[in-house]
């Protein structure tokens, strides 16, 4: 993941980057001792997050100039498939996705949707890149084996890497003075989200 970790946005985020991508939840998957309760919480809250992210992405696409839209439209389609995948997975495991959003999840989604309407598209690209690159790097630190191999693979496969690479290119192609501040804000939400999955 060095190609991403050497990018300006991540370098300038400082300590926030590792806080957003290293989590007890992930270490527990690696060590094979993730509590079922934490996994169920993560699945339901991440599903709610993905639904909010769909709104964010739809509004962002509408504000983005045509040359950059293709990448984002691909991302929206992938997100739609991801929602299906969450629903199937929950059903298979007998988990209820119809739960109240945790305050941490809610804050993240409110931030995304409020930003989608009130920030310029260049900043929205950095927000989207922040959410995706942090998930990519967080999950890629794990080997795709064991009971959660399917989950690790979903956010570390070559196609996802290529998507994140293209998002980074768009951020560089359309720079904006506020990109860094909002990218950092995404990392704070990511950090809080991982903490919530572990601590409840």
């Amino acid at each position: 993941m060095r190609e991403f970790e050497q990018s300006t946005l991540i370098v300038r985020a400082g300590d926030l980057w590792s806080q957003a991508t290293k989590a007890q939840f992930l270490s527990a998957i690696r060590d094979g001792n993730l509590p079922q309760e934490a996994f169920s919480r993560w699945l339901a809250q991440d599903y709610l997050f993905a639904r909010g992210a769909t709104t964010f992405l739809a509004v962002t696409i509408a504000k983005t100039p045509r040359p950059a839209q293709k990448v984002l439209i691909w991302g929206l389609t992938a997100l739609d498939l991801e929602l299906d995948w969450f629903e199937e997975n929950a059903q298979k495991r007998g988990l209820d996705l119809n739960v109240a959003p945790h305050q941490t999840c809610r804050r993240y989604v409110d931030f995304l949707v409020a930003s989608a309407y009130s920030q310029p598209f260049e900043v929205l690209l950095a927000i989207l890149y922040g959410a995706e690159v942090s998930y990519l790097c967080a999950w890629s630190a794990l080997e795709a084996t064991g009971p959660y191999a399917e989950f690790i693979h979903r956010w570390s496969n070559a196609q996802f890497v290529e998507y994140v690479r293209q998002l980074l290119r768009l951020c560089e192609q359309y720079p904006h003075a506020d990109q860094q501040a909002q990218f950092n804000e995404v990392l704070r939400h990511e950090r809080d989200f991982w903490r919530m999955t572990w601590e409840g």
Binding site: R107, D110, Y117
Partner: protein, 207 residues
């Protein structure tokens, strides 16, 4: 009436607001000046978003009477911001460069999401708690006023008829445009919770 039902359903949070150390400090005048200064800066930041939410609500209104009311409510917020500007001048607060606390961002992002993305009924349900709570606190705290009370301006503002009247108008509007439903209840409750967290934040930040 819906506004009365929602107020009742959230009485536990409003009681916690009234008993909150920040509010108790305002009442008896012992609230640290630095804490109050931080609160004023965050509140001014918040009110700018509140103003935008009213504007978006007006944009979503078909009824001219509703638009007129939102216009008046916006003028009320502009007046309220004058109170903050007065404090800023007196206490040396820079309102031009306010970095929002997480509790402030949570509240403003919530309001902006609802205002841009929600229905008129949801927007009003999310905005009533602020108005109603401050009317309640102003009224409850008015008995604490004494000569040279350090927070006299704050208490007088929120216990005045000038503030109570628009709060009532907004509650009437809620009764007009909204029905009792889970999304409305949720917006109201979450906004009230944000109010409670808003009082805690300036006390938790180190000076």
């Amino acid at each position: 009436m819906l506004h009365g039902l929602l107020w009742q359903l959230n009485s536990e949070i409003t009681r916690r607001c009234l008993e909150h150390p920040f509010v108790r400090g305002l009442a008896d005048g012992t609230l640290e000046r630095e804490v109050f200064k931080r609160y004023v800066a965050q509140d001014a930041f918040f009110l700018r978003t509140f103003l935008r939410a009213y504007a978006l609500a007006a944009a979503k209104s078909d009824d001219l009477e509703h638009v007129r009311l939102f216009h008046q409510l916006m003028a009320g917020v502009v007046d309220e911001l004058k109170l903050h500007a007065g404090y800023a001048a007196k206490l040396g607060i820079d309102l031009g460069h306010v970095e929002p606390y997480p509790a402030t961002s949570a509240y403003t992002n919530f309001l902006l999401r609802i205002a841009w993305h929600g229905s008129l009924a949801e927007i009003v349900a999310a905005m009533v708690p602020c108005m109603r709570l401050y009317t309640f606190l102003g009224s409850e705290l008015s008995g604490s006023l004494r000569p040279e009370h350090p927070y006299e301006d704050w208490i007088k503002t929120y216990s005045s008829d000038d503030f109570r009247a628009p709060a009532r108008q907004l509650e009437s509007l809620l009764d007009n445009v909204a029905v009792d439903c889970p999304t409305g209840r949720d917006a109201y409750r979450y906004a009230m919770q944000c109010e409670l967290d808003f009082f805690s934040a300036p006390m938790e930040v180190p000076p």
